[in-house]
């Protein structure tokens, strides 16, 4: 069965199907219940499944996640929403030191099957805290899966897989493209967690991008007079380096495109791994086109911060001409 939906509709569909599928699943967060979420991600769910399973919480992120850990340890499968990724930091201790740690702490006796959803990323002219790209912080916290879809199909399938996973997942939804386009979503399609997607094949260079940057990558690949292979890791951690390295060995050149600031952004990890495993195949150093090392600015300067297709093209040109 397949129907056309955009990213946020895909989130809603995935939540609905998981609530239906597994009575241990709970969906909750600020404004998630009666209001259906500020982005309408949980629209209609409370009406369908009741307040016991879909509900709103007080404005208290560490409590939202902390209680989630507790519920998970007791056998539930909570799917809390943190309204904006910039507020995840308030719950960081609960996420890293507890949710991510329980399996190891208990030598495998206890598990935390929790999926934390948060809209992330910039490009929507919003205020402080509302356009953060925190994937690096969570990738660095051992014990967590970090997943970032870039299409409605991946959003639907990977969110369901994340909820079904018996370990904690931080599921970051690129809100800039929540409603940018619709595509056919096949609910039965099997999409592997921890596997990257080749967005388009090419032979001149590998461009690794995720979230809203995948569309920027596609635009840049069209603009430039070269055959670019685009790889979307989808699961930031654990990363499918096999796909990425195979691609880089084929093309000989690599570039990473991400919104988050350059220093210690996830591009740094990817570049290092490529260095370790494919240095003899490289014809140029790995290029990174990213946000600058500054806090995400107010909207008047937003266009200078967000990597766009012009900057991606420039990066590709430098990469190809090395």
């Amino acid at each position: 069965m397949s129907e056309e939906m955009n990213v946020v509709e895909a989130v809603n569909a995935a939540l609905e199907d998981e609530l239906e599928n597994d009575e241990d699943v709970l969906v909750y967060g600020e404004d998630v219940g009666e209001d259906g979420g500020v982005f309408r991600a949980s629209e209609g769910l409370q009406e369908e499944f009741g307040r016991e399973r879909v509900f709103s919480t007080p404005l208290a992120e560490s409590g939202i996640i902390g209680t989630g850990v507790g519920m998970a340890l007791k056998g539930m499968r909570p799917v809390p929403e943190i309204q904006f990724s910039g507020f995840l930091y308030l719950a960081f201790h609960q996420i890293k030191e507890h949710a991510a740690r329980f399996r190891m702490r208990s030598r495998g006796d206890l598990e935390v099957p929790m999926t934390i959803r948060a809209p992330y990323g910039g490009g929507i002219s919003a205020l402080e805290h509302h356009q953060e790209s925190p994937e690096s912080f969570f990738a660095h916290a051992e014990g967590l899966h970090v997943v970032i879809p870039s299409t409605p199909q991946d959003t639907y399938s990977l969110l369901r897989k994340s909820i079904q996973l018996d370990d904690p997942v931080v599921f970051l939804e690129p809100k800039q493209i929540y409603r940018a386009f619709k595509e056919e979503v096949d609910r039965e399609k099997d999409v592997e967690l921890e596997k990257a997607r080749i967005v388009q094949e090419g032979s001149d260079a590998t461009l690794i991008a995720w979230g809203a940057m995948v569309r920027v990558a596609e635009e840049a690949a069209q603009e430039i007079d070269a055959d670019i292979e685009i790889v979307d890791p989808r699961t930031i951690y654990p990363t499918d380096f096999e796909t990425i390295i195979d691609s880089v060995k084929k093309t000989g050149r690599a570039m990473v495109l991400h919104e988050a600031p350059k220093t210690s952004g996830f591009g740094a990890e990817i570049a290092s791994r490529i260095n370790e495993e494919a240095i003899l195949d490289l014809e140029a150093p790995v290029k990174r086109v990213t946000g600058p090392d500054v806090p995400y600015p107010l909207y008047r300067l937003e266009d200078y911060y967000m990597p766009n297709s012009e900057r991606a093209v420039e990066g590709l040109e430098e990469l190809l001409e090395f």
Binding site: E4, N6, V38, F39, F84, I124, S125, A126, L127, H130, Q131, K175, Q176, Y178, R179, A180, F181, K182
Partner: protein, 471 residues
């Protein structure tokens, strides 16, 4: 949206939910496109809310009122009849609301996203929609401009002045005016005459040219003037409206210049119905950010597929040019949406009918006799008076005639109908013309009896000098 400005993507954006716009939106959705429809006022646009539909509703009510005066002839004596105009307006408003909701339901059924706000172009693939508490961008593959037109404002008689109203306000009046001055003897003005006269108003018409209803043949205008005193008494031709003055009690007085002489006409309102224009509406669309050109007449030029000079933008309805008729917009909306969906559609229509709801009604399609004589040396003309129609007699509506014009090979060129059901009868004539019919195609088709459309068949026979029911 709570925080932030998230762009929506769509296959097709339609700006304006009037007849052209909502049709295009629904057809686009039927063809599988993802459609966003933006409207700044009400769905249905001018036609459903401030034009065609409410006007016809009021004319219908007025018709009842007028008819009652003749019931005595039939033998029905209603006695004193009261008209509560506010109730009439209420009924009319409900009918309009029902129609609007019907459209909204259909839009919803087809998954069209309906946005209430004002749109303007940021570039050839993006619009910005400003809603009440929110503004957002919509990126599109194709867009259709269906922004319609607005009444022309006459300098000296601006709508903001007290007592000066447009066709929109005249439909909202709470009471039947005792006297009303109409500037403009076109069909909107004359329809206004029709409805208010029937409710008992004294209507005065001021027309700049030498006769009213210049777009119709003199024969037609003479016919309706002969039939009804409504269109005779206070019609001032060759009179240019200048300005408005006010009496002591605040009532407006129109000051006009009739061939050098000053003419003053007072009324409860001055209705300015001097035509419609598109330019002011188009200027709000920020079209300079696109490749769309506006021509000297204030319209957007389009080709047969309704495409403008910008490859991703179409234009339909009044914004695309004459004639400013809803049914042209209806057809253009379908064409544009189908082309946007990749189908081979085109506006290849050869005939657009025109209908006027005077009393009797007038409807024409194709060439009139004057025009036909200019193009063709020989013609066949058939005229059938409605007084010879059994059906017309049976409903006591015998004024008017049907005239059919054909070339020497008997191929139809045009039809003019004046009479009770002219607006309905013209449909058959339009179909016949579009299908390249000959006189025999209509004459030899059996028309049910007794009906009004029989008169069309009779008129075709008359064109061959073979009319059974007339001389």
């Amino acid at each position: 949206m709570v925080v932030g400005d998230i762009t929506t993507g769509a296959d097709l954006v339609v700006i304006g939910a009037g007849p052209g716009g909502y049709t295009a939106a629904i057809r686009g959705a039927q063809k599988g496109l993802d459609v966003v429809l933006v409207e700044k006022e009400k769905v249905g646009g001018v036609c459903l809310n401030h034009g065609c539909i409410p006007a016809k509703a009021l004319i219908h009510a007025a018709g009842f009122r007028k008819d009652m005066d003749h019931w005595d002839e039939i033998g029905i004596h209603p006695g004193d009849v009261e008209v509560h105009f506010d109730e009439v307006q209420e009924w009319k408003d409900k009918a309009v609301e029902r129609l609007d909701n019907g459209i909204l339901n259909i839009l919803d059924h087809h998954g069209v996203e309906y946005m209430e706000g004002t749109a303007r172009f940021l570039d050839s693939n993006t619009i910005r929609v400003e809603e009440e508490h929110n503004a957002e961008n919509v990126e599109f593959d194709k867009a259709i401009i269906a922004t319609g037109s607005q009444p022309i404002e006459i300098p000296g008689l601006e709508f903001e002045k007290d007592g000066v109203i447009s066709s929109r306000e005249v439909l909202e009046l709470d009471e039947v005016p005792d006297e009303i001055v109409v500037v403009g003897g076109g069909y909107i003005g004359m329809e206004a005459v029709t409805k208010f006269c029937k409710f008992g108003s004294n209507v005065k018409v001021v027309e700049a040219r030498d006769r009213v209803l210049g777009m119709f043949e003199e024969e037609i205008v003479n016919s309706i003037q002969e039939t009804s005193d409504m269109y005779n008494d206070e019609i001032y031709t060759n009179a240019m409206a200048d300005s408005v003055e006010y009496k002591d009690d605040g009532k407006p007085v129109l000051v006009a210049d009739q061939e050098g002489e000053e003419l003053k006409l007072e009324g409860d309102h001055i209705l300015v119905a001097a035509g419609r224009e598109t330019r002011p509406v188009l200027e709000n669309l920020s079209l300079e950010n696109t490749d769309v050109d506006i021509n000297d007449d204030g319209f957007i030029e389009t080709d047969e597929q309704m495409k403008t000079s910008d490859d991703s933008i179409f234009c339909i309805g009044d914004a695309a040019g004459e004639p400013l008729l809803a049914h042209k917009a209806y057809r253009e909306g379908r064409v544009a949406a189908e082309v946007a969906a990749g189908k081979p559609a085109a506006f290849d229509n050869q005939y657009i009918p025109a209908v006027m709801y005077t009393d009797p009604e007038v409807a024409t399609v194709g060439l009139n006799e004057t025009e036909a004589r200019e193009e063709y040396d020989e013609l066949l003309v058939g005229r059938f008076p409605m007084s010879a129609s059994g059906r017309a007699l049976s409903v006591n509506k015998t004024s008017g005639y049907v005239k059919v014009i054909a070339d020497n090979d008997e191929k139809l060129l045009g039809v003019q109908i004046v009479g009770e059901r002219a607006s309905d009868m013209i449909a058959e004539a339009t179909l016949a013309l579009e299908m390249n019919a000959y006189l025999d195609d209509i004459a030899n088709t059996i028309h049910a009896h007794p009906t009004f459309p029989e008169a069309l068949a009779d008129a075709c026979e008359a064109a061959k000098d073979e009319s059974i029911h007339s001389y």
